[in-house]
Amino acid sequence: MKTKFLSLLALALMFTTSCKEDDPVVTDPIINTSVAVNLHYDFNFGSNDFALNTEYTLDNGSKVRYTLATYYLSKPVIMDDAGGKTALSPEYLLIRPDVAISNLGFIKEGHAHLFNISVGIDSAANTDNGSTGVQPTDFLNPDNPLSPQPENMYWTWASGYIFVKIEGEVDFEADGTYDQVFKYHLGTNEFRKDRTTMVHSDVLGGDTINMVMTIDYKEFLNGVDLNTEFLTMSMGDARPLGIKMMNQFDQAVTISKLGDGKKSN
């Protein structure tokens, strides 16, 4: 009986105390477990900074200037060392030489093992051979990178995105007159280049992973005979040159981790 009474008393006290409205509410402090991921861009022509419509000298003395250098990146991902993947966003990025950085969202703190990104558009979205897929006319928002672009990054006649579009001019004798236009419009699913870069960092909330994509547009033309290898739309007889120039672009690209990514205090 006594036990029963004490139990009821304890219960009553519990009710009473739990109904007090002015009790201080104890909550856990907000802990930021998010790690930002940024991709920086560094465009060069050899040891010089790169810009469109700027004249550069090749090793053979010829002068070149680029008038267009735009490309797609897609599906950035951070992988941990257990094989887990965190998809970053946006999924698609259109990169021009005036872009300095892309904010790719956040991952949770932990171990960031690898950074993966593709040059080009994934085959699920990119149409090929006239098959159905994402079309530029699907988009209401002109800011979507897959919507129509001023430099026409889509082949309607082959229905696929142009992954890399580079155009320019060459002055072979460096006599002040541009002799030849070069145009490399590179695409179709086979051309996509997946790039994986070691990050290997233990990151905590508030840290930032800074990756940098360096492109050397001198290296892009290294070994290219601009007298004969100046035009490809990646199709037909010019497909072998398209394949070569896509490999040239791939070789001109370096992706690395910038700094240790730790937040500064």
């Binding site: 079309q135 006319t137 209401l140 928002n141 129509p148 006649w157 199709m235 037909g236 497909r239």
Partner: protein
């Protein structure tokens, strides 16, 4: 302009009344009401084209036709605003009085630039599973970008086309009215595609005879031509299958030995060994109005076309097995041509345009 589209809709409604085709025009907000009176003046009413002897018109969700969309698309189709130099429109190469072709060997674009292909008819493009002669594009909407950007056609960046239409005095308000959306890649292409989907050709003398039991619709010579057309010896119908008069397959018909100037389907697939010289089988509806013929306009008239197939064509290794040559007498050739002429539509556009 408005009258033209209205006439199309009225014409379609007349056909509905005649029982030859079912045109279901349902109000967006009362789509379930059957036997509701047709309200052809309603710009947002959904027009569903269902022709009994045709397969269903394939339309993706949300891309339905309305009077407003078709009218807007028609205005854009005839507007040189979409060409770099404001000198040509879609209708420059797709003339209404030539079954939406231009009568030229190859088309002429802005600044007189020559294309390397003959202008195809736009009739029944709604049923095309892929666009262009090499099938390089999957939808009427994204196809719109092609001729606008192509340097031998209108040569205007599509983003610039959107900007021009958006800056025009009349179009932005109409886009809002029709789509409740601003001018964009989506709405501009959908407007043009909607108009193109209304270009339906289905009621020729052949249709009256073959599908609707009018034994007098074809004369004896045309009937003889039909028999030749469907004969095993000529094999025309193997690819030009009824009712659309095409199976949309890609065929090398032995037109040339050398396709260097235009590899056809191989341009898209990058596979010369498998696809060189293959082009999509063209519709024969209104064929009498669409000379010259073939992808490059190299055959001036129907006599030349029949002579080509009778000869067996070139010795190209990818030539279709169906192109094996045949003997045809002069009267039979005349009968075959008479049949082909009976494929000329007598309803859907002649009285409209």
């Amino acid at each position: 302009m408005e009258k033209r589209v209205t006439n199309i809709l009225l014409k379609l409604s007349n056909i509905w009344k005649g029982g030859l085709a079912l045109i279901s025009l349902s109000l967006l907000f009362s789509a379930c009401v059957k036997n509701a009176p047709l309200v052809l003046s309603e710009p947002k009413a959904v027009l569903e084209v269902a022709i009994p002897h045709f397969p269903p018109m394939p339309i993706d969700s949300g891309k339905f036709i309305t009077k407003g969309r078709a009218e807007l698309g028609e205005d854009l189709f005839f507007d040189p605003l979409l060409s770099r130099n404001f000198d040509i429109s879609c209708a420059s190469c797709h003339l209404t009085n030539s079954a939406f072709t231009d009568g030229l060997k190859v088309s002429v674009g802005t600044e007189g630039r020559l294309h390397n292909r003959n202008s195809p008819t736009l009739f029944n493009v709604a049923w095309q599973p892929y666009l262009f002669m090499d099938g390089g594009n999957p939808s009427l909407e994204s196809q719109v970008i092609g001729p606008i950007e192509e340097h031998r056609e209108m040569d205007l960046a599509f983003t610039e086309a959107i900007a021009r239409v958006a800056a025009d005095a009349k179009y932005p308000a109409r886009f809002q009215e029709v789509f409740n959306l601003p001018v964009s890649a989506y709405t501009l292409s959908l407007a043009l595609a909607s108009y193109e989907r209304t270009l339906v050709s289905y009621r020729s003398a052949f249709d009256e005879y073959y599908y609707y039991g009018d034994s007098n619709a074809l004369n004896s010579e045309e009937k003889k031509g039909l028999a030749l057309f469907t004969s095993e010896a000529l094999s025309c119908v193997s690819c030009h299958q009824f009712p659309l008069t095409t199976d949309f397959s890609f065929q090398n018909n032995g037109l040339h030995d050398d396709y260097t100037s235009d590899p056809g389907r191989a341009r898209v697939t990058n596979n010369l060994a498998a696809n060189e010289g293959q082009f999509k089988v063209a519709t024969l509806r209104n064929i009498a109005l669409t000379a010259p013929y073939m992808h490059d306009g190299s055959l001036a008239n129907l006599e030349a076309v029949i002579a080509h197939y009778a000869s067996g064509g070139s010795a190209h290794p990818l030539k279709s097995d169906l192109i094996r040559g045949f003997s045809i007498s002069a009267p039979d050739k005349a009968a075959l041509i008479a049949f082909l002429e009976s494929l000329t539509d007598t309803v859907s556009y002649k009285s409209v345009y």
